[in-house]
Symmetry: C2
Subunit: 194 residues, 2 copies
């Protein structure tokens, strides 16, 4: 094996910015030690004023120990003026749409890499239709949340259209956020009043 | 009515940073024209590399017309290195937790203002337990999404503990994000492959 061969091999293992060798090694490691896959993610939030509040995402638990992101990520949320807020950030309901697009897109890149498809462009828009008569308490027939969500993807890569669609479908079938948003998850709320 | 009286009246209508006069006026306006409450929120996303992608939140539809936030909000999402990413942002699943905390907190501030409770501090942490054997495709018995979420609030204000708990409960009962996350919503995925 020449140096050129080695370089070619390394290049081939990195596709769509995904190091597939590390990806498959991670899968093998978790197969041997399934407990490594038990994660706890967290978001912290501090109220600022009115509908304006600030979220911080930094610490999490995974692969057997407490961990931290490389830096703290801070995100303001608010309502726009038309919803009696100060527009210092997106509405919470918009962050939900962002989470869905991000999850499907990350999965798509991983799955394409594993299946040796090179992606050149992935764009998406998630739209969510919501009737605020629900949260405003004005119509008991209307739910608080979205009536429906639509994700519209544009995907380009070195594979036929049908193959690209299959990659999106597989990403959907393995998406954590899609699962929660379509199937729901139990939520417990605890309140301290010191 | 003296100037002092007028000032006192104005001050009284703004509580917790919420202009309750505008809040109640908005409620009355929507009662008269329920169609104003039909909103469509949106999130746009562009893949960067690997699990790194970038979301933009700016345009939405509401109160009968296309609107835009005061500025575009841009958020990177990624996986940490331990999940074969580059940690340029939180994971999509963490954004979901942020959305839940932000929604419950915004609602709490509004509801407290409407019920004449002055809040002095609201902090929360949302934790989500997830077994990644699901999304890794290693255990068909394990779901892709969170097993369960817990929201822990610390709430201080000028009301008894029981009243503060009631405010959180009412916020839960009227939260768009809580509704979607606990009950689910149908998601349609469309794919263009130009």
């Amino acid at each position: 094996m020449t140096t050129t061969d080695t370089t070619a091999e390394v290049d081939d293992s990195i596709r769509n910015g995904v190091d597939t060798r590390t990806l498959f090694a991670t899968l093998d490691a978790v197969k041997q030690a399934p407990q490594a896959a038990m994660f706890q993610f967290r978001a912290h939030n501090q109220w600022v004023s009115g509908t304006h509040n600030r979220g911080t995402i930094d610490d999490y638990f995974g692969v057997g120990e407490e961990r931290a992101h490389e830096r703290s990520f801070v995100f303001d949320a608010d309502h726009p003026a038309v919803l009696v807020g100060t527009d210092h950030g997106p509405t919470p309901a918009e962050f939900l749409l962002h989470a869905l697009a991000a999850c499907l897109t990350a999965g798509l890149a991983n799955i394409a890499a594993a299946r040796k498809v090179k992606l050149t462009e992935v764009r998406s828009t998630v739209t969510g239709d919501i009737d605020l008569n629900g949260i405003l308490g004005l119509d008991p027939e209307v739910r608080n949340g979205y009536q429906q969500l639509t994700v519209h993807f544009t995907v380009k890569g070195d594979a036929p259209a049908e193959k690209l669609r299959e990659l999106v479908e597989q990403s959907r079938a393995r998406s954590a956020v899609y699962d929660v948003i379509t199937n729901g998850v139990p939520v417990t709320i605890e309140v301290d009043t010191p």
